[in-house]
């Protein structure tokens, strides 16, 4: 990679200090996002994908969470270790973040307009009237009908899709270079999901911002992402171009996920599911953390952790001793 990436995360590890001990929620995660690019982090709940996003944003709840290792760079500038005051000038300005449930993520007692205008007033020191106009403008940009009239409405008066648009408006108000979307469409109806994804894609084309998409939904990844990471138990188990990973997974976990998606063309009696359950972070599994649920696992998998992310193919890395076998198995 020649140009400086927009976002570079290097060897990130996050610990949670709980009553029952220290839990490593994210372990050795590295990735990059370039301007205009969409990178998806795919994983089930508890895989560490949201914690990774919150660590990038610098809004981990600490305590109990703490970044114990690694660095985060925005356009080559190290964010980790910056004083809180300087980080505040990054959050919302250079990096925006939208959340899953816009109803609970918006302040119920402030009008949506005020919540958007707050960005202009707080970060750009705009006057009340100017901020109001800017807020209405950005509400129009995310296609909220009657934006001017709805400025002083409250979050509970909007539909789920409209609320997520408000959330997006608020977070793109200052034209951030990077937008982190943490399960942005999970709480929405399928038709509304598509509209929100289309809106995000449109904004991205207009502004060339990078998009870091956190999701558990393979469909969303296929629709939106150029590159993807698959996380399991706090580690990245596979990464590469989204199309290639989805077509031909190199990690047995990714492969199992893909098999669990119903096909549009073939008729099957029963969808395969992944046996077992995600590991309890309080009881780390010896060896590769996926081995108890893995169908290609051999004895060595229970004794040695998976290899470091290995280059299995050009632009494709997987953390599995049998990546080549999985890869060729997918072709048959």
């Amino acid at each position: 990679m020649t140009a400086t990436p927009l976002l570079a995360v290097h060897d990130l590890a996050v610990d949670f200090h709980t009553r029952d001990g220290v839990v490593r929620a994210v372990d050795g995660v590295s990735f990059q996002v370039n301007p205009g690019e969409t990178v998806a982090i795919l994983g089930e709940s508890g895989s560490g994908k949201s914690v990774t996003a919150q660590a990038v944003m610098g809004i981990l709840d600490s305590p109990p969470a703490r970044i114990s290792r690694g660095q985060i760079f925005l356009e080559g500038r190290a964010l980790s270790g910056l004083p809180e005051k300087q980080l505040r000038a990054v959050r919302g300005v250079e990096i925006g973040m939208i959340f899953q449930d816009a109803l609970s993520a918006l302040n119920p007692v402030l009008s949506v307009g005020e919540q958007i205008a707050e960005m202009y007033r707080g970060h750009l020191n705009m006057g009340r009237e100017q901020a109001r106009n800017a807020a209405i403008e950005v509400m129009q940009r995310v296609q909220i009908p009657g934006a001017r009239q709805r400025y002083s409405d409250y979050p509970h008066q909007f539909s789920g899709g409209m609320r997520q648009r408000i959330m997006i408006a608020m977070m793109i108000a200052l034209q951030p270079k990077l937008l982190i979307a943490d399960e942005p469409t999970t709480a929405l109806d399928v038709t509304v999901q598509a509209q929100i994804l289309a809106l995000l894609a449109q904004i991205q084309t207009e502004t060339n911002m990078g998009l870091l998409l956190i999701t558990h939904d393979l469909g969303v990844v296929a629709e939106m992402a150029q590159r993807m990471l698959v996380m399991y138990a706090g580690e990245v188990v596979e990464q590469g171009s989204a199309r290639a990973v989805l077509d031909q997974p190199a990690h047995p976990y990714t492969a199992a996920l893909l098999r669990a998606v119903p096909s549009m063309t073939e008729r099957v009696d029963r969808l395969p599911s992944i046996p077992g359950r995600p590991p309890n972070p309080l009881e780390p599994i010896p060896g590769c953390s996926f081995h108890p649920r893995c169908e290609v696992a051999q004895r060595c998998c229970s004794q040695h952790p998976g290899p470091d992310l290995d280059l299995v193919k050009s632009d494709r890395q997987a953390r599995c001793w049998f990546a080549q076998e999985v890869l060729s198995g997918g072709e048959s």
């Binding site: 629709e223 998606v261 359950r277």
Partner: protein, 312 residues
């Protein structure tokens, strides 16, 4: 174009993490709560205090001499009036020369009895009204809710003052009547809201779809949900009612002689407080400890029943 597929989500989370609360039967919930309670130091402190109070209530004769509480039996001598605490009279004596320790020990029973009866009657009334209003809804709820509003508009102490000015019942019964008539409102509101919540739960709708009767739905599916919060409210109310009795007795409206309670002792001690503070402080200390014990117990039970609050 590939649609976002909810099925992928199902297969990811469907393997189950076992954290769903789902339907809980009363016993299962209370059983879990008990396991949690046993780990709470606050629970043990309050339980020990309450056990001590119960000892005084059930067998006061073991701890003190009943004769020393009455001049009729010759246990109190006017010549002993208002003596400071000593080896002979641990808590001193009151104006009649009665032993304050013995009075305090024997005063526990009426104080606690008033609270217990009050809690039982108000909880029963509250459950009946709250369950009826919440379950049947519509006009039944409208009528009952207005009645609740009316009672809510009358503070317990003010309403009690009026009632007890007009009606003098012997012993503890006046205060019991006030608590029963005016104290059920919080229980009714609580049960009504948990009933409405439970009525809309999927398992209740499922039971109805399967043809369960109203009675069965109410008692098997809805009431169990109200048990936990009602227990918490009842325990805290028990402490509060004991304090309310003391307030009425302080105003001269509460427990009537010859029955005496911590409240009447404090009331009697008013006029001699500066000269003989022990006459007031000892019953007051027992009263406060009892109220505190029930509040602590209520807190501990609430935390045990609500795992979310515990973790926060």
């Amino acid at each position: 174009m590939s649609d976002p597929t909810p099925a992928a989500e199902l297969s990811l989370t469907g393997t189950g993490t076992g954290t769903g609360t789902g339907t809980v039967t009363g016993r299962g919930l209370l059983g879990d709560a008990w396991l949690e309670l046993r780990r709470s130091p606050m629970f043990w402190i309050s339980a020990i205090l309450i056990a001590l109070v119960l000892l005084l209530v059930l067998v006061p004769g073991l701890v003190a001499d009943a004769e020393k509480t009455s001049s009729l039996t010759g246990g109190c001598q006017l010549s002993d009036s208002l003596q400071a605490p000593s080896a002979e009279h641990w808590f001193g004596t009151d104006q009649q020369g009665c032993d304050v320790f013995a009075l305090t020990v024997f005063g526990a029973r009426p104080s606690v009895t008033v609270g217990v009866i009050g809690v039982v009657t108000t909880t029963l009334i509250g459950v009946v009204i709250g369950l009826t209003a919440g379950y049947f809804g519509r006009w039944v709820d409208a009528v009952l809710s207005r009645i609740v509003d009316v009672f809510y508009g009358l503070p317990l102490i003010l309403g009690g003052i009026v009632l007890l000015t007009a009606v003098r019942l012997p012993g503890i019964w006046g205060v019991v009547l006030v608590l029963t008539l005016l104290g059920w409102v919080p229980a009714a509101r609580l049960v009504r809201s948990t009933t409405i919540e439970g009525k809309n739960q999927d398992y209740t709708l499922a039971a109805r779809a399967l043809g369960a009767s109203d009675g069965r739905i109410m008692f098997r599916h809805i009431l169990p949900n109200a048990i936990g919060p009602s227990i918490v409210l009842a325990v805290i109310s028990l402490g509060a009612f004991i304090a309310v009795e003391a307030t009425f007795s302080f105003l001269g409206l509460g427990i009537q002689p010859p029955v005496f309670s911590w409240g009447t002792m404090i009331s009697d001690a008013q006029s001699v407080f500066f000269a003989a503070p022990w006459t007031l402080l000892f019953p007051a200390a027992f009263l406060s400890m009892t109220v505190l014990a029930f509040i602590l117990l209520g807190d501990a039970v609430r935390d045990a029943l609500d795992p979310k609050a515990r973790r926060a």
